[in-house]
């Protein structure tokens, strides 16, 4: 990638008040699609880029690759923003799937099978919204910390180490069926926090 001296965009960042942005990433992403506004993009970049890189590094990729894939992910955020559908996913979820797919594509040299973009657009929504806004990061943190250790472990091994059921089964020396039941229980508990308020 070619480097060029800092452009006006970088120099002219107007600090968008932090408070306003809190938990509003989904709104900002929608605005980015509508306005193609670099300042909005920069705010999103500052928030998500370091987290994306942390995620990719945890998948076991070397630092330079994590940096490169992070930049590609952020580029995709700009280029695909018009495909983002707020009613289907929170910004963090959508950006997570972009980072996940690009990392897998890179590791496998095969495109991760996606279930089709039509899925994001078709059908009137049965749900009122993506649900994230009511759920703070704190609450998820709490939900995860309340998971029995064995369940949290299989969630982390799946999301952060990219390990398959059989792989986890080997690593932990437990039957495949136990891996799956731990994942089921953990996932169902975590999903509870988006349902009836706790």
């Amino acid at each position: 990638m070619e480097t060029k001296p800092p452009g006006d965009d970088v120099e002219n960042i107007v600090a968008i008040p932090q408070q306003e942005m809190k938990n509003n990433w989904s709104d900002l992403l929608v605005q980015l699609a509508e306005r193609r506004d670099k300042q909005i993009y920069i705010a999103i970049f500052r928030h998500f880029a370091p987290k994306i890189k942390a995620y990719i590094a945890r998948l076991g990729l070397v630092e330079s690759t994590a940096e490169e894939l992070m930049q590609e992910t952020m580029l995709a955020v700009w280029r695909k923003a018009h495909m983002y559908n707020r009613s289907k996913a929170a910004a963090s979820t959508w950006i997570y799937t972009l980072a996940r797919n690009l990392s897998i594509d890179w590791m496998r040299k095969q495109k991760y099978p996606e279930y089709g973009l039509e899925a994001w657009h078709e059908e009137p929504d049965e749900e009122r919204n993506s649900g994230e806004d009511e759920v703070t990061a704190d609450r998820l943190q709490k939900a995860i910390s309340q998971l029995p250790e064995k369940q949290a472990q299989v969630i982390y091994m799946s999301f952060f180490e990219g390990r398959s059921h059989t792989d986890i089964s080997d690593r932990l020396g437990i039957p495949l069926g136990s891996v799956k039941s731990r994942l089921r229980l953990a996932s169902e508990k975590l999903k509870m926090i988006w349902r009836d308020d706790v």
């Binding site: 990638m1 070619e2 452009g7 970088v10 670099k38 920069i42 970049f45 880029a49 370091p50 987290k51 590094a57 930049q71 952020m74 580029l75 700009w78 280029r79 695909k80 018009h82 495909m83 910004a91 963090s92 979820t93 959508w94 950006i95 997570y96 799937t97 980072a99 996940r100 797919n101 496998r108 095969q110 991760y112 099978p113 996606e114 279930y115 089709g116 973009l117 039509e118 899925a119 994001w120 993506s130 994230e132 990061a137 998820l140 995860i144 969630i155 799946s158 999301f159 990219g162 398959s164 059921h165 059989t166 792989d167 495949l176 069926g177 891996v179 799956k180 039941s181 996932s187 999903k191």
Partner: protein, 229 residues
């Protein structure tokens, strides 16, 4: 669409986490594209990924990262075409209320083109055909389409790992129940089964495993080296 057999929660987690083989992910993506209830569920499961991302301790990024990305944007600011507008199945124009069940799920179309009619089949035994897909598998698993004639049965088998079978056309029954187009059999080592095709037409399914199948009959053991199953 009346789908009765859905994905296991543990399978959804694995897909959302990006931690299953390419072969398995393809079957999952195909089922999700046909099944609105699993689509709802995967949205929620992927939200776990989003929140885990949000909770991560930020890593140091290169000082010039933002400038570099902005430079790329300036070079090629145009947005990507939305693939959503593309027809998901060439030979079946979407009519209102058209039953999508007869369509090829979009993720599979990436591998075999527009239609099941174009697939080149290889015969295992009379009435049983397969077509291997180029998806990466895990531990000697398979990634393939099967076409089985009415009245034919697969050999009874069990598995060391997971097995996903998505029905694209026709139907079969086994110890668990009856599976028709759109249904997925999401099984693991605890189950031994012998699917029997009970439709009037050939049954076409998309299959992925993450370990070779284990046949429980002598005949199965004899043909196993031949079929590669």
């Amino acid at each position: 669409m009346n789908i009765k057999h859905h994905l296991d929660e543990a399978t959804l987690v694995s897909y959302a986490a990006g931690s299953m083989s390419q072969a398995m992910a393809l079957v999952v993506a195909c089922h999700i594209s046909m099944c609105s209830s699993c689509r709802q569920r995967i949205h929620q499961t992927e939200m776990i990924g989003g929140m885990l991302l949000e909770n991560l301790e930020p890593a140091d990024i290169s000082e010039s990262a933002l400038e570099q990305v902005l430079a790329c944007i300036d070079e090629a600011p145009e947005i990507e075409e939305s693939v959503a507008a593309a027809p998901i199945f060439d030979s079946a124009p979407l009519e209102n209320g058209a039953d999508r069940i007869s369509d090829l799920p979009a993720p599979l179309a990436d591998y075999i083109g527009g239609s099941l009619d174009q697939v080149e089949w290889s015969r295992i035994v009379p009435g049983v055909y397969y077509h291997d897909l180029p998806c990466k598998t895990e531990r000697g698993g398979v990634s393939r389409l099967m076409r089985i004639a009415p009245g034919k049965a697969m050999l009874p088998h069990s598995h060391d790992g997971n097995e996903l079978t998505l029905i694209l056309k026709g139907s079969f029954s086994d110890e668990i129940g009856r599976f028709t187009a759109g249904d997925i059999a999401d099984l693991d080592s605890e189950i031994e089964h012998q699917p029997l095709v009970d439709s009037d037409e050939d049954c076409i399914c998309l299959i992925a495993t993450d370990a070779p199948l284990k046949f429980s009959t002598l005949l199965g053991k004899l043909v196993q080296p031949m079929t590669g199953f």
